[in-house]
């Protein structure tokens, strides 16, 4: 007992003396710094200080913008984008807040994006600039396309390919819905040919991928092909994905007859664990052979899925599905938000991107439904065309919409699991389409 007490006392004495030394050290450093400051700091009359401070307020910066202020890319901005444009953008982000909170539109991504946009439009502080923290986040994971890839891993870990494996031919519906991408590409090119806007082929491709209805893929392609349009593309992509329950049902009802909407599909067969385990490797191998350009997306997706289906790395699977995807979502949202700066968002292009985006979604929905009707002309098990609309990715929202519309006509008709097949095939389909676009511009 005595021994321990002595040891403790010695330790205590040592510790206090060490911290005393440390303190002395800090004091000397501080002293040096303060003398250094005194050398450069020039005393000013108090009135001049107040004047200088008032000059630096946000109000002055908005009304009389600094003519030398540069945007995030180091270019000059117009007075409109520095003043009233920023106020408008702040109001736009408030609208996004409202959509996310009151209307429940993809709040997980829209809130970080909108708040990032809010921060990016602050004058003087330059948060979205190269050295601001939004700029740093953007450099860290968006300009090198890292964040969308990590999100894809998490999505892979959340995906169950069971419904697709038990009814493989529904994958074709996921392919047909990608028509929305390429249809919109032609539309975007036609618009610029008609002289409304000036989209290059790269920009048109980046916009059209909105039709893939897959947020990470859109962001991946946009940063690769047209980073200047990233903000508008991401906002269009996520807000339309949230509006899937509004956009899709009228199109689905328009293209189907009452009898078709009541088609009951045979129950899904049981899928063995081995099938689910082999599937990610199978698809990745195909992607390697057919289209290596698509393997960053498909590879990350299948990595997540493989970890999940292996069943032996529950901890990693859990991290991918929760912690990792959540952290990345925060950074991805803020990074995309940095592109909502007035000088990049308040341009005529944005309006056209919004219009083209909704066309892309509608065309994808329509072609998915039409493909199902086409497949019904062949012998075999009939497909309810309502699940065709789930071929646009938007997992799992689009599948839920199919289920809901089906239930409107027949309370006992459960289409959810049937619709999950084309739904996850749509993710693969849009990753392939993205790979094609990348390979064209390589």
């Amino acid at each position: 007992m005595k021994n321990i007490l002595i040891k403790f006392l010695t330790l205590f004495v040592l510790f206090t003396s060490a911290s005393l030394f440390a303190n002395e050290h800090v004091v000397t450093v501080e002293h040096k710094v303060s003398t250094h400051k005194e050398e450069t700091y020039q005393t000013k009359p108090f009135m001049q200080m107040i004047d200088g401070f008032l000059e630096s307020t946000g109000i002055v910066a908005l009304i009389h913008p600094d003519p030398n202020e540069l945007n995030a890319k180091g270019e000059k901005m117009s007075d409109f984008h520095k003043g009233i444009g920023r106020v408008i953008m702040v109001l736009v982000t408030f609208l996004l807040f409202w959509l996310a909170i009151a209307k429940g539109f993809e709040p997980l991504l829209l809130l970080p994006i909108a708040f990032g946009g809010f921060l990016a439009n602050i004058p003087v502080a330059g948060i979205a600039g190269e050295n601001g923290f939004l700029g740093v986040i953007y450099q860290m994971g968006l300009s090198n396309e890292l964040f969308p890839i990590i999100i894809f891993m998490g999505v892979g870990a959340m995906t169950d390919f069971g419904p697709l494996l038990s009814n493989p031919k529904t994958a074709l519906l996921g392919g047909a819905a990608q028509f929305g991408i390429f249809g919109t590409l032609v539309g975007a090119v036609a618009l610029s040919q008609a002289g409304f806007v000036d989209f290059t082929l790269q920009q048109a491709s980046a916009i059209s991928i909105i039709g893939g209805a897959d947020g990470p893929t859109s962001i991946f392609i946009a940063t690769k092909l047209a980073p200047e349009l990233l903000g508008a593309i991401a906002v269009a992509s996520y807000s339309y994905m949230a509006m899937v329950p509004i956009i899709q049902p009228p199109i689905m009802k328009l293209l189907t007859t009452d009898a078709e909407r009541r088609i009951k599909m045979s129950t899904l067969r049981h899928v063995s664990r081995l099938e689910k385990l082999v599937f990610p490797i199978l698809v990745l191998s195909l992607a390697i052979l057919v289209l290596p350009e698509s393997t960053p997306l498909i590879g990350a997706f299948m990595f997540g899925n493989f970890l999940k289906e292996s069943g032996v790395v529950e901890r990693l699977n859990d991290t991918l599905q929760n912690a990792l995807i959540n952290i990345t979502t925060i950074f991805l949202g803020l990074g995309v938000g940095s592109k909502l700066a007035a000088d990049q968002f308040l341009v005529p292009d944005t309006m056209f991107i919004m219009i083209l985006g909704i066309i892309a979604f509608s065309v994808g929905t329509a072609t998915g439904v039409l493909m199902a009707k086409l497949m019904n002309m062949f012998p075999g098990h009939k497909i309810n065309p309502l699940i065709g609309s789930a071929g646009v990715s938007a997992v799992p929202m689009a599948a839920r919409v199919s289920n809901k519309v089906g239930m409107e006509y027949d309370r006992t008709n459960m289409l959810l699991m049937h619709a999950m097949g084309p739904n996850v095939a749509g993710v693969i389909g849009s990753a392939v389409a993205a790979g094609v676009l990348i390979s064209i511009f390589k």
């Binding site: 392919g175 990608q178 392939v432 094609v436 064209i440």
Partner: protein, 76 residues
């Protein structure tokens, strides 16, 4: 020059949609082959009802033995 741009768009569409469909068709084919092979050669072990029943009976026996022991102990 300008008409070329739309033509380019249609070329992209042709190439893109063909690739997507070819990819998915090969994928469907492979999936069917895979599930055939797996069901043919690596079927999931059939879940037998017997062992479950046996363990249930065993459990009953054990419960009976324990309760008998307890009642014996209390009496003693």
């Amino acid at each position: 020059m300008e008409t070329n741009l739309i033509l380019e768009g249609f070329k992209f569409m042709g190439l893109g949609m063909t690739t997507v469909f070819v990819f998915l068709l090969i994928m469907i084919l492979c999936m069917n082959v895979m599930s055939y092979v797996i069901h043919r050669f690596f079927p999931e072990p059939q879940v037998n009802e017997d062992p479950k029943l046996k363990t249930q009976q065993n459990n009953k026996k054990i419960v009976a033995a324990i309760s008998a022991a307890i009642s014996y102990h209390r009496q003693g």
